[in-house]
């Protein structure tokens, strides 16, 4: 039998909040009707704190903390949009665009891309850091889906959804640093990985145009990131949401 966790109180951007003691700051921020940008986080998947966009300032904490993995505590005073945070967020989005090859006008996800949305949110219209134009490739070996690594931001949502929800663990991260890439199976072509059930969950949760359905052309991708949370809820709480 579960017992309701105690309630804690604090301030976000001057506004009072109360929350369950096991809530994350991101949940509290959203419940307060506020917003911080996120890319790696997705409700329903284990948070990893990798994109660093959701960092917030907490009074008395020497470091900025990622809202998606930080648990609230009694008396927390949180600021989500200090000038420093806004500067760093914009720089982070610039670094995302500069490290890959993003040509939005020709992208399957144009108009429904979370990276694009975040760029708009933080007011980033070009990168002041030189574009790196990395040599990456496209894996079109799967019969129904493709992975265009040029657009991958290494958020690992695909890795987590396939491992945690589909239970197939087709994806992982290979190599390191700027050479990191999402790999299928033992760094094989996706179409050769027998573990893939072709469920499409990775395509649904991918925030960019990296993973897409082959039948979709420019600006035709319709992602379904909400499915991860729906499935997690169905699994853990035996409750179905019928959209």
């Amino acid at each position: 039998m579960s017992v309701d966790p105690p309630v804690v109180h604090g301030h976000i951007n001057g506004q009072v909040f109360s929350a369950a003691a096991d809530a994350t700051l991101l949940q509290v921020i959203r419940a307060a009707g506020l917003q911080v940008p996120t890319l790696c986080h997705l409700d329903g998947l284990t948070p990893v704190g990798a994109c660093r966009l959701c960092l917030v300032a907490i009074e008395g904490h020497p470091k900025l903390e990622p809202a998606c993995v930080t648990t609230v505590a009694e008396g927390m005073v949180v600021h989500t949009h200090t000038p420093e945070l806004e500067t760093y967020r914009r720089m982070a989005v610039e670094l995302f665009f500069a490290e890959g090859n993003h040509v939005c006008a020709f992208c399957v996800a144009n108009g429904s891309c979370e990276l694009q949305d975040v760029a708009v949110e933080v007011g980033m219209d070009h990168s002041r850091f030189p574009y790196q134009y990395p040599q990456r490739h496209v894996d079109a070996s799967h019969t129904q889906f493709s992975l265009d690594h040029h657009r991958c931001i290494l958020c690992t949502r695909c890795v987590r959804v396939c491992d945690e929800i589909e239970g197939a663990h087709v994806w992982d991260v290979g190599y390191r640093g700027s050479a990191c890439s999402i790999i299928a199976g033992l760094d094989q072509p996706w179409g050769e990985v027998a573990a893939c059930t072709s469920c499409g969950k990775c395509v649904d949760v991918c925030p960019t145009g990296a993973l897409f359905r082959k039948e979709d052309g420019t600006a035709e991708k319709h992602p379904h990131p909400e499915r991860a949370a729906q499935l997690a809820e169905a699994r853990h709480e035996h409750r179905w949401t019928n959209p």
Partner: protein
Amino acid sequence: MAVSWRCCDATACRAAGAAALRQRLEAEVGAERVKPVGCLRLCGQAPLAAADHPDGSTELVAGVAGERRLDLDHPFFALQRPVVLERCGLVDPSSIDDALAQGAYATLAACRLRRAAELVEEVVRSGLRGRGGAGYPTGRKWQLVAAQSGAHKVVVCNADEGDPGAFMDRSVMEGDPHRLLEGMAIAAQAVGAAEAYIYVRAEYPLAIERLRTAIAAATERGVLAGLPIQLRIGAGAYVCGEETALLHSIEGGRGTPRPRPPYPAVSGLWGLPTLINNVETFAAIPAILREGGDWYAAMGTAGSKGTKVFALSGAITHTGLIEVEMGTSLRTIVEAMGGGGSGVVKAVQTGGPSGGCIPAELLDTPVDYASLQELGSIMGSGGMVVIDAAMAMPELARYFMRFCVAESCGKCLPCRAGTVQLEQLLDRFVEKRASPADLAQLEQLCGMVKATSLCGLGQSAPNPVLSTLRFFRAEYEAALAPGVVP
């Protein structure tokens, strides 16, 4: 009685011909009067051997033919204060009998008669701080792990020493492996752990061999108080020295850090409460429990107790392994012990890729956690590289940034993409084609990577740049392209 020899059989001397020197000495006095030992400290003169004469005097020679006699009264030796290294160079690292004869495991045996809380209290009193780089109070960490309720806890030793210029932990493992095992067994008793691991980098084959031999012998003799100690060998990633990445790696996963909390003390290896300490930290434990925490705390400064081992290298005459009291000045280390002439030394680099450069004019700085941090450097794990005028600071900063680019695990954006941009910006300074805007961008991006990266690697990657900008800014300004000098 005839002379007997101690021949250094550690990595630096092996590379410089220790085997030939030993054969020669064995031919001269007979194999039974020559024993292999760990580092004899002055590695720069390798290979080294020490002669113990029947009258009690000792003599140190260097060279494959033992042709150079070294002065043991030189400050390099005279100013050392061996605690962690008290048996290193005296004991045969492959012989448990020799170790036992020199007191190994006696403290552990005595500790078994004491209450666990007393052991923790002794470590708290000692003021010992973690020697792996971050300097977290060891006693407080032990208290935390001891306070966890789980019946199943783990002790892990971080032997992934990867900072360029660092060889303190390697020397301890190669020279006196039983001291590390004893320290871990005491820790296990103190925090209530029944299982232990040593995570050692694959690039240390001799340390691995010595540890294997030592663990097998200690287990067979039953001197480890029943603690099973397992070795885990790294696979060549610097980031696996970061504690959460290290634990992932032991679990068989990809060696990437995760956000903390939860700290390993609460949820570590396989989710169990885990005590993770550095090699040198564990190696200080037997002496602390033998002599008492107060004895240890009497050495050093207010915030930095005891002694610290440094790997001293670079533009000085005497390079090698030193152990000195905390609070010793950099000048004493560099000029008196290292023989670095004033006027030659430009700066001292401490803390490797996470640290910074202390300029020659600040050599009177005492070596303690607070003083180094105030100057924008860190104590780090103990690498100390002396820099002379031949090294341009933007180039030094780029060297460390390249290291971070190569070693970034790639999990978080600021480190993965930010260090690449920082390296390219530094290229412009090294090649003297930077603009004032580049300088502004360099500083701003350093601030961003430092403030927003997930783990210590990214958070400290900008330190070598920031520290050289602080003390050698003129070198960056001089590197602006002609015509754009402000």
